[in-house]
């Protein structure tokens, strides 16, 4: 029996997003990923005594932008607070964060699971600084005798987005995260490189008997950075909690970590861990007063968001599935739109983008942004098919060459002599040669065997290396045989 027959899951997610600024939130160190350990560090972000942080304006701009895209209310008055705890990735022994007056509150986004739409509340979004990175000597944190600290990431600006506990299934959680990341990608608030840890998820989950409304005791699993690990972790953790409850025991409220290798969550509980952060207003930073004119200025820079774009594509006659794939990343949707501005048949364009183009990207393990083919070049190729210069079949090979060389379609067709033969006189000559060489087929056709013409067309295509314009070949053959 599955646990879901007995229990209902309640889940809320905290998402940490690294904002796409050039410099850190309170100092001028670069936010660039990688770099030799402890080389993107200064007196401010390493927490030396006597230094003063100064807030990066772009962090506020991006936080407002994300807040608006998530349908949130932007605070008129906002401030920073110190969250006090001891952990080696935190050089100051406190994290500069926001407590009671976050920059954004009461947002929402809409997910679709199994065709049903559902609105997921976003309690708040607040600005804070990222912590450093720990490298453990053992395989996991719990099995390590010592750890190594790199403070390059310390002070990289984060937006922490806290959802309401509105999620009731793993499918809903994954849909919420995908939708959230898409919005952050479209608004370019973050580079959204999950594999580099620029978006990380903390999953709060509890079970309760079906039909009851009191919340069960939850656990929090921290620092997941892919949709797949969220899915696997939740499958494990819900099963684990169900077993605890089935045995008549109580779930312990605690922080857990996901061991990807073993596929289990592990308790991070310790005697010393007390969630008593003793927040107090950050005396080194003055508050923010956010005039409505500032918010409106940023609202004007909001791009078309994924949901709006999907609807627009569907209105062009594309299927819900196709519209979903094309809008899955802003880069792909932008590519499609740019090609569409040059080549108006959305359906043909969709077939090429979702078929050959994505296949080539996947085969070369590249993203849309790395594509050697520009949207205009793809549009030009499709125009050449429409004009009859090449057949669709030949065009696939041309696209591969375009991908490999970056050359325009027209140039490749010219260089390789791939142009479709639409010259009636030239083609008529070949048609006559083929007729002369195959008297039996001609006789069969004249005797009423329609199929014989197919053989003759094939011979003409062979003679022209597939470049003959098929409709012209048919027309000429019929004329000469009648």
């Amino acid at each position: 029996m599955a646990w879901s027959d007995t229990y209902e899951m309640v889940c809320g997610v905290e998402t940490h997003v690294e904002l796409a600024t050039k410099s850190k939130i309170f100092c001028g160190c670069t936010t660039e990923f990688g770099g030799e350990q402890n080389t993107h560090v200064c007196a401010v972000c390493s927490g030396l005594p006597g230094v003063l942080p100064v807030l990066n304006k772009e962090v506020v701009n991006l936080a407002i932008k994300a807040g608006l895209a998530l349908n949130g209310e932007i605070a008129e008055f906002s401030k920073f607070d110190r969250k006090n705890y001891y952990y080696p990735d935190l050089p100051k022994n406190y994290q500069t964060s926001q407590y009671d007056l976050p920059i954004c509150k009461n947002g929402w986004l809409e997910i679709t699971v199994d065709g049903a739409k559902k609105r997921i509340g976003i309690t708040r979004a607040h600005m804070e600084e990222d912590a450093g990175k720990l490298v453990h000597s053992g395989e996991t944190i719990t099995s390590s005798d010592e750890s190594y600290v790199d403070y390059n990431r310390t002070g990289v600006p984060l937006l922490e987005i806290v959802s309401e506990p509105d999620l009731r299934s793993i499918a809903e959680v994954v849909a919420y995260l995908e939708q959230l990341v898409q919005i952050l990608d479209y608004t370019q608030v973050s580079d959204c490189r999950l594999e580099q840890g620029s978006v990380r998820f903390d999953i709060n989950v509890s079970l309760r008997p079906k039909g009851t409304s009191d919340l069960g005791t939850r656990t929090e699993t921290k620092n997941l950075n892919s949709f797949a690990s969220v899915r696997h972790c939740m499958e494990y953790e819900t099963e684990r909690q169900a077993e605890v409850l089935d045995a008549g025991d109580k779930v312990v409220q605690e922080t857990r970590t996901w061991d990807e290798g073993k596929g289990i969550t592990i308790s991070l509980r310790s005697k010393e861990e007390a969630h008593d952060y003793r927040y107090f207003p950050e005396p080194d930073l003055v508050p923010l007063v956010i005039e409505r004119s500032w918010v409106e200025e940023i609202r004007r820079t909001l791009p078309e968001l994924p949901t709006e774009r999907r609807m627009r594509y569907e209105s062009l006659g594309l299927s819900e599935y196709d519209a979903g794939v094309l809008t899955s990343s802003r880069a792909l949707a932008d590519f499609f739109d740019e090609a569409l501005s040059r080549y108006a048949d959305a359906k043909i364009l969709t077939n090429w983008v979702m078929g050959e183009f994505l296949r080539l990207l996947k085969a070369n393990q590249q993203s849309v942004l790395d594509s050697p083919i520009s949207p205009v070049q793809l549009a030009e190729l499709l125009e050449l098919i429409d004009k009859g210069s090449i057949s669709g079949k030949i065009a696939k090979g041309v696209l591969e060459d375009m991908y490999a060389t970056g050359k325009d379609a027209a140039l490749i067709i010219k260089e390789k002599g791939l142009g479709q033969i639409s010259d009636e006189a030239a083609l008529a000559e070949i048609v006559e040669q083929v007729i002369a060489a195959h008297p039996q087929s001609v006789e069969d056709y004249r005797a009423g065997k329609e199929r014989a013409i197919g053989f003759l067309v094939g011979q003409i295509m062979k003679a022209t290396k597939g470049q003959a314009n098929p409709s012209l070949v048919n027309k000429l053959l019929k004329e000469k045989l009648s």
């Binding site: 100092c27 402890n38 990066n56 944190i141 719990t142 005798d145 600290v149 930073l285």
Partner: protein, 98 residues
């Protein structure tokens, strides 16, 4: 006037644990007494009528002190690690965490 809740010995032990301070029995007694004296003194402020006053977010009447998003040169690695009690290969080295 609202009377502050007295600080108990347990509260002092809890705060000491959070601050990673190891206190002797005698020190716990001393600090419990001293903290209560400080709070009693601060309680004088309770005589003020603050019902019409907004909570203070900052002592200085300033807001929106912001800098442009510009990258500056960071410190060299050896400077960053200069005060490290233990370091290896460019990293700070720390004892077992959990």
């Amino acid at each position: 006037m609202v009377k502050f809740v007295k600080i108990s010995r347990q509260a002092v032990e809890h705060v000491a644990l959070l601050a990673r301070l190891e206190l002797s029995e005698q020190e716990i007694g001393t600090y419990t007494e001293q903290l209560n004296t400080i709070l009693d003194y601060a309680a004088i402020l309770e005589k003020l009528d603050t019902s019409e006053v907004q909570p203070t977010a900052h002592a200085v009447p300033l807001h929106n002190v912001l800098r442009e998003d510009e990258v500056r040169v960071s410190m060299p690695q050896e400077k960053v690690l200069q005060n490290a009690p233990d370091a290896e290969n460019g990293f700070f080295r720390v004892p077992k965490i959990v």
